[in-house]
């Protein structure tokens, strides 16, 4: 009894002094498992780095669940100070003017340095508004790259393909001959649609990929991508490609177990693969179609960004600004990059990681950032479309129908175009 009393007094004493001296803020995120532990570490480092602010990270489930929880909390007036929103949800949160404070404004108001040109090219404008003002700070930034099983490629006597033509004619057949399923991928809308358009510098949506207006129409029904999906069905038929459903890990597992020789996934998957696989592996850039372009361009970032939600007092906003500043620092970025495999978001952090010899030790860790730093084009900045989570659901459904032979490529892309445009016009009406 006595012990409990003492413990209670001690605990009360601690919280009392804690809340007296520090401004406490909350941070909702979607990073589970090992990534979540790294997020906790970042928060702990931030809390230890100064005495004025204390941030509490809270895991809210998947990306979709986190965004939904944030929206519900905002409507109830209980929103967190910082929320992690993923790429497909960006239009929802940026479109709702007044829900968030642009990170650029937040930092400037609190007299902290900000220069958008410090950020690496592929990262800079994805979460920015039409004028190029950064609204959300890129947090876990990744881009699709191609991982390959070095042992498998050696057995087949080939190197990783640079173009899809090379894959179809040389790499694929050789790997199949060597007893492997040559290729799988984990996210058809992200890898084979959004970044397909970016890699080939093709326009993905009207209004400058949706950045400059609300009456956007998707331009997904393009001959180049249709040819790509036609090729996929042929490769699947010929045993050069396999599709294991819409789930991410269902497609990654066969690569890790050594059945599949090459897998298209996230540059952020690096850490996990390294922990789990026993074969030698490396990574290279996303292949492109030479028939479409001879000068492939950069891809843009996927993953998620952090947004400062409005409706909090100045002290809490100052705390959020301090956290953003801490997060963008080269040291934090390098730690985050090394632990998780996500790309560092600033040039300074990239240089620091290189100086520390990280890429000599793990060349595959640099592929994502190299790909993001490739020359850009008119349509490589990203995209901004509302109800995009639903649009991705439509894509996933129709691509699944293509790959199970339920729908032809033409029919599927027509469906995607019609349904996506319907959703976009609905979203435009909500923006009034």
């Amino acid at each position: 009894m006595k012990i409990i009393k003492i413990a209670a007094t001690a605990a009360f004493g601690l919280t009392a002094t804690g809340s007296f001296a520090e401004t406490e803020i909350t941070f909702w995120h979607a990073m589970g498992g090992q990534l979540g532990e790294t997020v906790n570490q970042v928060a702990k480092d931030f809390n230890a780095s100064q005495d004025d602010y204390k941030i509490t990270p809270v895991f809210k489930g998947s990306y979709e669940e986190t965004l939904t929880a944030g929206i519900a909390a905002f409507r109830a007036g209980e929103q967190p100070n910082i929320i992690q929103v993923f790429d497909a949800g960006a239009a929802t949160v940026i479109g709702a003017a007044g829900a968030v404070i642009p990170v650029e404004d937040l930092l400037e108001q609190n007299k902290l340095d900000f220069d958008i040109n410090d950020y690496i090219a592929g990262v800079r404008y994805f979460y920015a508004d039409a004028d190029g003002k950064m609204i959300g700070m890129p947090f876990n930034s990744s881009t699709p790259i191609m991982y390959y099983n070095q042992d498998a490629l050696d057995a087949a006597g080939v190197t990783a393909p640079k173009t899809w033509e090379e894959f179809a004619e040389v790499t694929g057949p050789a790997l199949k001959e060597a007893g492997y399923i040559p290729l799988s991928q984990s996210h058809l809308p992200w890898i084979f649609t959004e970044n397909f358009f970016s890699r080939h510098n093709l326009q993905f949506a009207s209004n400058d990929n949706g950045y400059t207006g609300n009456d956007t129409e998707i331009m997904v029904n393009h001959p180049a991508i249709k040819a790509h999906f036609t090729a996929l069905t042929e490769w699947k038929e010929a045993g050069l490609f396999e599709w294991y459903g819409t789930g991410w890990s269902d497609n990654q597992d066969p690569f890790e177990s050594g059945k599949v020789a090459m897998w298209l996934g996230s540059s952020g998957s690096f850490g996990g693969i390294q922990d789990r696989v026993e074969f030698n592996f490396s990574a290279t850039m996303l292949p492109y179609w030479e028939a479409v372009t001879t000068e492939p361009t950069q891809t843009f970032i996927g993953g998620a960004a952090l947004f400062a939600m409005s409706g909090h007092d100045d002290a809490e906003n100052a705390a959020a600004a301090a956290f953003f500043d801490f997060l963008a620092s080269a040291d934090t970025q390098v730690m985050w990059h090394k632990e998780t495999g996500y790309v560092p978001i600033t040039e300074a952090a990239y240089e620091l990681a290189a100086k520390q010899g990280h890429y000599e030790e793990f060349p595959a860790a640099e592929v994502g950032i190299q790909q993001l730093s490739l020359p850009g084009g008119d349509f490589t900045r990203g995209y901004r479309m509302g109800f995009y989570v639903q649009i991705r659901d439509v894509m996933n459904r129709e691509y699944g129908r293509i790959l199970t032979g339920e729908a032809s490529v033409d029919e599927a892309f027509e469906n995607i175009e019609t349904e996506a445009n319907d959703l976009l016009s609905r979203f435009a009406r909500t923006q009034g």
Binding site: G95, R397, E398, R429
Partner: protein, 293 residues
């Protein structure tokens, strides 16, 4: 009659108020709100909403995918309800006859009831997994290439199987107690008249079980329509893709995940109307044929 026990109407109403308040807050208020928002198109953050009339409804009737979810839900509900009732009845009849170790059998059969739907779904995912699943491996020895999450009907089969399995224990408990409530004298009289076990079951036992069966029918349809959400969610791993979806899961996918509150409100109103129709039909037509003892 009993009404005489209360002096005036005020007191009984007072006693009912807690219940009425709970119903009003947790049912009528959200239901009314859903009906209202089904006529609007809302910005997810609630900054503005536009009145769109019946747009959200007409959109559903023209959506090929909504209709396909609708028909899938009909098939799903029919199969789950029928098989979970039929298998539970069979098990209950057999368990009722067991004399030695009866309690152990019954406990084992009821066990599954304690499993939460998402856990049941997770076990289903493991059993039906593409590369490691035991059932997948079993089917491949018969030459069938089972692909969960890839093939529409393969995924549907997993959803239906897991949903049936999860519901059998509840039905079993009710059927068993229903069977034990049938008077011994009736059974013995039947045994003298008719030696065939099968016809005794259909002529005597089954009609006497009808009230239990009717109750379970309603419970099971509701279960298949609504409570299977967790199973569906775990089996498609939160990414429906080209897999089947039940109507309830669709409300979640379009509304919560997709942020379209108006559209998904319309979907939930459709569900409400469906349940209303179903309830009226059941009580009007089915219940008349059932005799409570």
């Amino acid at each position: 009659m009993k009404r005489a026990a209360f002096g005036q109407i005020g007191f009984p109403i007072l006693l009912l108020i807690p219940q009425l308040v709970i119903i009003a807050i947790f049912f009528y208020w959200p239901a009314g709100y859903a009906i209202q928002s089904s006529f609007y198109l809302q910005d997810p953050f609630g900054f503005g909403s536009t009145y769109v009339g019946v747009d959200n409804y007409t959109r559903l009737t023209t959506s090929r995918t909504y209709l396909s979810s609708f028909w899938f839900t009909v098939i799903f509900t029919t199969l789950v309800t029928f098989f979970s009732l039929a298998i539970a009845l069979l098990l209950a009849v057999k368990a009722d006859k067991v004399i030695r170790g009866a309690k152990t059998y019954r406990t084992l059969l009821m066990w599954v009831y304690a499993i939460a739907p998402p856990v049941a779904g997770l076990m289903g995912v493991m059993l039906f997994d593409q590369s490691r699943g035991n059932i997948t491996q079993l089917l491949s020895t018969f030459g069938y290439d089972y692909r969960l999450g890839v093939n529409y009907w393969d995924t549907a089969a997993a959803m239906i199987t897991v949903s049936i399995w999860k519901q059998i224990p509840v039905n079993f408990i009710f059927f068993l107690s229903g069977l034990q409530a049938i008077p011994r004298s009736v059974r013995e009289a039947a045994m003298i008249d008719n030696a065939s076990g099968t016809s005794r079951f259909w002529d005597i036992t089954f009609p006497l079980l009808a009230p239990t069966g009717f109750f379970l029918l309603i419970i099971n349809i509701t279960y298949a329509l609504f409570d299977t959400f967790g199973i569906v969610d775990t089996i498609v791993k939160g990414e429906p893709g080209n897999n089947p979806m039940t109507l309830v899961y669709r409300v979640f996918v379009d509304g919560f995940r997709g942020g379209d509150l108006g559209g998904s409100s319309a979907q939930s109103v459709v569900l409400m109307v469906l349940v209303l129709i179903l309830t009226v039909v059941q009580f009007r037509f089915l219940e008349r044929r059932i005799h409570y003892t």
